[in-house]
Subunit: 253 residues, 2 copies
């Protein structure tokens, strides 16, 4: 467990954010031109498991109600810049790419419930192993919205079989950060061919008796960007989240 | 308690819908031109207590996933048509006014939790008295979104003091239909001068020992229409809801 503050992570941290700023909510980012903002917001409304909205900025603003004096174009550890559905590159500063017509969406992240999982006795293999959480593009289609469509992305945590019920209970109470798992046990049910080859993040090592548990993931809008090719988008790099000033308890029912 | 089906209410009913189609969710309606849809959706996202979204139609469609073969331009008992924030009139059929560029939003209605209140032993004075629920425009501002701003509207139910806790518990478990009360006891706290003069719906009679309990209300977008003057909107008339085919249990945590 770390004692890093959210502000310290926003200002100074460069890597994945799992396990940092313990007890504070973390968020996924997607910023699109105002002309595409309705499609993104409707996509989120229609797909609340992967895309629970925590805040939407006003056009041209990079501030958010989720953190004092934060700047969304600088305060994430790593960004991705997209043009017509193609990844142009990853950058530690999005300011050179930011545009006045961008609207930014902050979407709940499952890292938010990890301190509660740990408090309930559920081990976090990726944190223990110093890795980013593994994420996978599934074959489960999201409900389309306007010009946006694409598959659901999930994060996976290996959980000891006896603690799967606990993990379910803890996370079900936090729907704003993806809530209960979408699947337990069989990656093939989600169209995932090989758990050792995640689409994003790092492979993690199971312990004997661990079961893979899958949660809807806020990287889903990036899969929609790839599938739907909006002219421009800026997102976080998977696992490199915006750390908010909001206590995780604010998102627990 | 009535045994009317949702379809019967949609096809044949003309008055307020409280107490009808027991056990099924009811919804508020606001339809606006596509150009204003983002403002409405963002307003709802930023004000989830009064504006929990249950469905958003695709532009030009008057169907909804909430009911089979329903037609939103005909299946509500009473509509209001708005131009530049002015009420043009109330109509039992919105088809003559519907436009191809409209997007319709269905917003959770507190009538949905009434059968559960009754099952928990909480009397419903407006239903007992054969009246529409009373609704009031408060002085609580909603969080603005784009061009939309306005005050929160609330519905009020007189509840025996000993049952206020029960009413709170039952409704807190149903955030998609406004959830827990926003206030109990003092109408002045909400800027309501006189409970006997509701802004919408009917005055109800308290019994000795009743306390006024206020819930956020899906008429709030109509107050935003008045304040913000979009060029065109169609809404339900307060209390005259769209009755869905969705069981109320679908919205209970």
């Amino acid at each position: 467990m770390t004692t890093t503050t959210p502000r310290e992570v926003r200002r100074a941290h460069a890597g994945p954010t799992a396990g940092l700023a313990d007890g504070y909510a973390q968020a996924n980012l997607i910023a699109v031109p105002r002309d595409w903002a309705y499609d993104v917001l409707l996509f989120a409304q229609r797909n609340p498991k992967p895309c629970p909205i925590l805040d939407v900025t006003d056009e041209g603003s990079s501030g958010t109600v989720l953190a004092d004096n934060a700047d969304l174009m600088r305060d994430l550890p790593r960004y991705r810049v997209w043009e017509h559905g193609e990844l142009r590159g990853e950058f530690t500063d999005a300011a050179p790419f930011w545009r006045d017509d961008l609207v930014a969406f902050l979407i709940g992240c499952s890292f938010t419930f990890e301190s509660r999982l740990r408090a309930a006795g559920v081990p976090l293999r990726h944190v223990e192993q110093g890795r980013n959480v593994p994420m996978y593009v599934t074959t489960i289609p999201c409900r389309p919205a306007g010009r946006l469509h694409g598959p659901m992305v999930v994060s996976m945590r290996y959980v000891p079989a006896a603690l799967v019920g606990t993990a379910w209970e803890v996370t079900a109470r936090m729907p704003a950060v993806h809530g209960a798992p979408v699947h337990v046990g069989d990656p093939a049910e989600l169209g995932i061919p090989d758990l050792d080859r995640p689409d994003f993040g790092d492979r993690t090592e199971p312990h004997d008796g661990d079961v893979p548990v899958f949660w809807a993931c806020g990287v889903t809008p990036q899969a929609a960007v790839v599938a739907s090719k909006p002219p421009f988008a800026i997102t976080h790099a998977p696992g490199h989240m915006f750390v908010t000033d909001v206590p995780d308890t604010a998102y627990a029912l």
